[in-house]
Subunit: 142 residues, 2 copies
DNA sequence: CTATATTAAGACAAATTACTCTTATTATCA
DNA sequence: TGATAATAAGAGTAATTTGTCTTAATATAG
């Protein structure tokens, strides 16, 4: 099997949207998030460490501690998250793994994939956490 | 890290394009293919077993044996290959892994992803092995 | 200021994916 | 028709990803 994003990345997106729904100054614990979106608590801890190291989250230890966004939710887009967790290969590497594929010397899939890939990157840049947190609060969304 | 297709699937695509360049009746050995496209020989063997079981390839044991396409190369498209190796999740599952995401109750990414996904599926259906084998033979392609 | 509960961080284990080695099959040639 | 070499098939191993358990840090209450 294979998907666009790793499991870690999926969890990161879900968790950060949950976080973006909260007030920006509140410290939220991993336990609360993991329980709400139903994912492994300590696995999320590891993911949030990465996001902290890259400056997307701030963390605070001890009682009443937790995590919070380090910037306004409208300043964090999907590409920031995906690039941090999964790296940028999805936006640069050959989709079929041909070793010498490039714009100059394309593989037979290169040009078919080009526009699709650009569409994906564009979308990831467009969508930010604030938008998504707002949407998820609308009726009909989950 | 994470990409659209698994490593197995990338190898399958490359190997089948190589096969499509040959005459349709010839039996080609795994060793020849693996050497040419520079991938692990026995790993390719396993991949070709799957493709044989699903009816995309025919195999023949013993001296002068090997594999060949079970249909004309123009009748095998990328979607056939991807679906066989990686399954169909990429075309149906929620891109961010939200457990209850659907058209009726979409996640905040669902509608942004919808058209992109459909574009990918459409492309995979459009491109067949013959086209790709022809392209790879043109100057400038690899 | 000390004990404790709560939390993040980091070490460890399981599952999956990628890869390699061995065995079984079979066409060919002596 | 039997030995042999080439081949697919399948068993076994390594690496990566996912998930869990343990330890270290710290805010708070007494």
């Amino acid at each position: 099997m294979s998907l666009i994003f790793s499991r870690q990345c999926e969890y990161a997106i879900q968790a950060l949207i949950y976080l973006a729904k909260k007030t920006e100054t509140e410290w939220i614990s991993i336990k609360e998030i993991a329980d709400h979106i139903n994912i492994p608590q300590h696995f999320l801890g590891k993911i949030f460490q990465m996001l902290s190291n890259k400056g997307i989250l701030k963390s605070k230890k001890g009682l009443q501690g937790g995590f919070c966004l380090s910037k306004p939710s409208s300043d964090i887009n999907l590409k920031d998250i995906v690039d941090t967790i999964d790296g940028v290969a999805y936006s640069t590497a050959c989709v079929a793994g041909f070793p010498n594929c490039s714009n100059d010397s394309p593989c037979p899939l290169h040009n078919s994939w080009k526009d699709l890939r650009e569409g994906i990157v564009k979308m990831l840049k467009m969508r930010n956490l604030k938008q998504m947190a707002d949407e998820i609060s609308k009726p009909g969304y989950n």
